[in-house]
Every structure is written in C-alpha cells, then in structure tokens.
C-alpha cells in the first residue's frame, strides 16, 4: 500500500514515542487525566511513563521539539488546546 509519509505533515510516530503520544491523547480526550495534569503535571506525566526529557518538552510546550521527539502534530495541537480551554474560555475563530 502506498502511504502518505516521508515529508508529509502527519507521519506515523516512532514506537519510542508511544508513551508520549499516549499522554498527549489522554490530555486531549481524558478529562480525569487532564485534571490530574493541571493539579500536578510532574506526577501525572511520571505516572504516564514519560521520562525526564519528555516531561521537560511537554512542560515547555515546544511543538517542534515535541514533534521531533516523535509526537504526532495533531495530538500536540489538541492536547495544548484542551488544556488551554480548561484554564480559560476563549474565542478561537
């Protein structure tokens, strides 16, 4: 099967970034996890299995560095958006 990858905007993440992407997905879709992250981010990320480097990247919110570490761009985007939505109401369009 021919696939969209290579220099595509959205590539298949490496297995090494599995925990990082799981954590981003939970931030996007799991309100309980997102609340625990808001209360104690380090503890939530540790329980999600993120290593020190991944935790620093996520706390810094550096999209390019997260993607370079294997995070899926859409999950980075949505995780950041949902965390921001919990913190304050905003007009996005």
């Amino acid at each position: 099967m021919r696939t969209v990858d290579g220099d595509a905007h959205y590539r298949f993440p490496p297995a090494s970034a599995y925990r990082l992407n799981r954590c981003l997905f939970a931030l996007k879709s799991d309100a309980v996890f997102r609340k625990s992250f808001q209360q104690d981010a380090t503890r939530a990320m540790t329980e999600a299995g993120l290593d020190d480097r991944e935790q620093k990247l996520l706390l810094a919110g550096d999209r390019d560095a997260l993607v370079a570490a294997g995070a899926h761009p859409y999950l980075v985007f949505m995780a950041e958006l949902r965390v921001r939505m919990d913190r304050s109401a905003f007009e996005y369009f």
């Binding site: 099967m1 021919r2 990858d5 595509a8 905007h9 959205y10 993607v67 761009p73 859409y74 985007f77």
Partner: protein
Amino acid sequence: MPDPAPPIVPLHVNVYLPPQPTPRRCYEWGRALGEILGARPERVALIASGGMSHYPGTDRYASPDVDWDRRVLETLAAGRGRELAAVTGEELDKTGNIELRTWITLLGAVGDRPADVYCYEPSWHHGNAIVEWRL
C-alpha cells in the same frame, strides 16, 4: 430532532495516522455504502464532516490553501465529484485537506450529482463550507 430520534451510525475514517485510506478507497467504500443504502426501505441522510485546508499542529496552520478549497467546491458544484477519487493522499496532505477523506467517502455514495454549495467561509486557519446533495 424528531421523536423517536432516528438511529445514528457513526462511520470513522482515519485521516491523520498513516497509512490512511487512499481517496480512491474512500470513494469506492462510499459507493458500496450507497448501493446498500439505495436498496433499503429507510430514508437515510449521510453527513460528512471534515475541515478544509486545515493543518493543525504544523507550520502551515495559519496559511490555509483556500484556492484549492474553492476549486474543490467548483468541482462539486459542477457534478464532477468523482474527480476527487483521483486525488492522491500526498496532495491532500500538501493542501491541508486530509480530512476531505470523509467528503470523498460521501461522494462515492452520491455519485456525480451536482452539489448545492451554500457557502465557503475561510478563516485564518481553516476553510468552512456547507454543501448538500439532494437525492
């Protein structure tokens, strides 16, 4: 919503994680779905939702390809929906239209009927359109 509420069957199309289905596969899948629904006694509405020119999480986010979106809508209004089945996955990615796979699936079901294009509203990061095919 009428009472009783009509049954809703969600259909998921993977658009963000390679390997995504090719536009051709989406179209053919929609065509098969259309054949099945056409043989059913129920009245069925197909609703496809997906952003046009949308690059969330990338450097292109604030640069939607609205010209490509407008050409797509012209194609649909002219009743040439099948042409979208020939678009490649690479082109969908390049133009920020990977979510159009949901539209292309629906196109397989409605065929080459001309679409009523009610609006196209580009935002700074997105194209929004409302399109209907009355069967």
